[in-house]
Symmetry: C2
Subunit: 329 residues, 2 copies
């Protein structure tokens, strides 16, 4: 089968590409071609399976039609302007996150007009579709009250995905990912960056800043778990989803204190001493509005699995990013 | 103040126009101009208040910009392709119900770019944003799981209205109307048509068909109540709405048996004998998927009021459409 990954140059896209090449199949179906697309052309990995790469701006009319012209069997749509940028640049957020997704859905529908075509479309949504007032554990049937333009755009795409699927134009499944930790790479300026930073930097012998209290609770999954969700969504029987095509993925609800305790078990007290407390009112206020826990019943019942403890998350990071070894501190 | 009504040629639009002209004000603010727009130019009523009329297709780029070029203070957006047509013509439904609304929101935002502009926008949404599984009384915080393209489009517009309002581009309020009964005029082929027909036709000495069982329960408000909702929404303080900008309007949950009992009280047994039972499996199945009752707590707390009995609904019809008199039967 032929796989298309849109947003393939990002962290999740690159890991997904490698996982697909390594598995060689989606479920029981062997992969014979992978097409990678992003706003900058993704690197093409060396592989026995042919991979080609395209620089594509999905928000440009006609771009999506080119990507689906050779009728990929599975499309992963990971491309998005992130929350902060979508809030800062109203037009760009709507252009990429809403119009881009709608162009893709329309291009797939148009492809099916002369000859039947109904590919699996795996769409990454976000827990940002939910907003205050938030219950202690957000259930699957919680109403969407996004508090950002990003969350609004994702909620709209979930509705479009459901309607296009109901009409038989696409076989869509949306997955709402937890906050990904430990995110590999350099520190970034995202308000959520410290959740990964306070593990990643100390395990690398470097200092990390903690801007919030240790009692702060949040919702996590490892990059490895996220890739597992995507692979499972690509192969899942979508019939049991009915009209509700988007699932909240399982995750781990954990506090910063639990993160730090896990860090100590792997990196020792020396690692935890590299965390510098530097309270930041602005970040604390932003984080206070974020979901802390979910009851992801539907996804759990369908067999999606996340980590059970922060130790599992730190272990996945050490195995996948650090070659199984922690830097001496 | 200057009022713009988009979708002014429809039943609700015409009644709203007359109500505004009669009131001469929105809340405490006198009206000095009304602009009427629809896909066919609405009739211009004779009035002391200047009224002008435009034929406008909101789904054509640039059309919305012309409508808001002279910066109306209050915009009523009632224009929509109805449920059946949006299901039959996928592209037309999305063009009018989604793109049309988004063009309007964008035109308002663009108007505000050089000189501040943030009009009140009253948008008519629909209870079609809700789908199965439905609880016995649908609460305000029920998740949107529309089962039609029409419901999907309305749910998306609710999200856009909330985001554009949050960003300060418009002062939006959405209202989800109950099924309007008794709808004046000729019988139509809408699946819901019989709810009005079994009152309207017999009171006019004509036969009406009832395709479902008398135990069927549904959610109603009179045209008079609907106009009241729109006028109140135009003048409401929107601050208490927070980010949840759309309200389920109050209504009356009543069975067909209650409808017929009310008909008998106004038209006698002779009127009820004009109802011909003609069970229709298709219509029965469609109606079985519709909401039967709502707990419209937020709107009730804000002072929105609907009828308390079907007698009130029949009385409103007789007063407003039949000059207070029932035809002899």
């Amino acid at each position: 089968m032929h796989i298309l990954i849109i947003g393939a140059a990002g962290m999740v896209g690159r890991k997904l590409t490698m996982a697909l090449l390594s598995a060689g199949a989606v479920g029981a179906d062997p992969i014979d071609k992978i097409t990678l697309a992003d706003v900058v052309a993704p690197d093409t990995p060396v592989s026995a399976i042919p991979c080609n790469s395209h620089a594509t701006d999905l928000s440009v009319p006609g771009a999506a039609a080119k990507l689906v012209a050779d009728r990929p069997d599975v499309v992963f749509h990971l491309a998005a302007i992130v929350s902060g940028e979508a809030e800062a640049d109203f037009e760009k957020g709507y252009a990429i996150n809403l119009d881009g997704t709608r162009f893709l859905l329309e291009a797939i529908r148009q492809q099916g007009m002369n000859e039947p075509y109904c590919p699996r479309l795996v769409f990454t949504s976000s827990i940002a579709v939910f907003g205050e007032p938030l219950p202690p554990a957000i259930p699957d049937d919680m109403a969407h009250t996004p508090l950002t333009s990003y969350g609004t755009q994702k909620a709209i795409c979930e509705l479009l995905l459901a309607d296009y699927s109901r009409r038989g134009f696409v076989d869509g499944i949306g997955i709402r990912l937890p906050t990904i930790a430990v995110r590999p790479g350099k520190p970034n300026k995202a308000a959520s960056g410290f959740f990964s930073g306070i593990i990643r930097e100390p395990l690398n012998g470097m200092e990390a800043v903690l801007p919030v209290d240790e009692s702060v609770r949040h919702w996590f999954a490892s990059p490895r778990a996220a890739i597992g969700f995507l692979l499972q969504a690509a192969a899942l029987d979508t019939a049991p989803l009915g009209q509700r095509r988007t699932l909240t993925m399982p995750g781990l609800s954990a506090t910063i204190a639990e993160e730090i305790a896990a860090l100590e078990r792997f990196g020792g007290v020396a690692a935890t001493r590299l965390i510098r407390r530097e309270p930041d009112e602005t970040i604390a206020r932003i984080v206070a509005g974020w979901p802390q826990n979910f009851d992801a019943r539907r996804a759990l019942d369908l067999g999606f699995v996340a980590e059970a403890s922060f130790d599992d998350i730190v272990r996945a990071h050490i195995e996948d990013e650090l070659g199984g070894r922690v830097a001496p501190t």
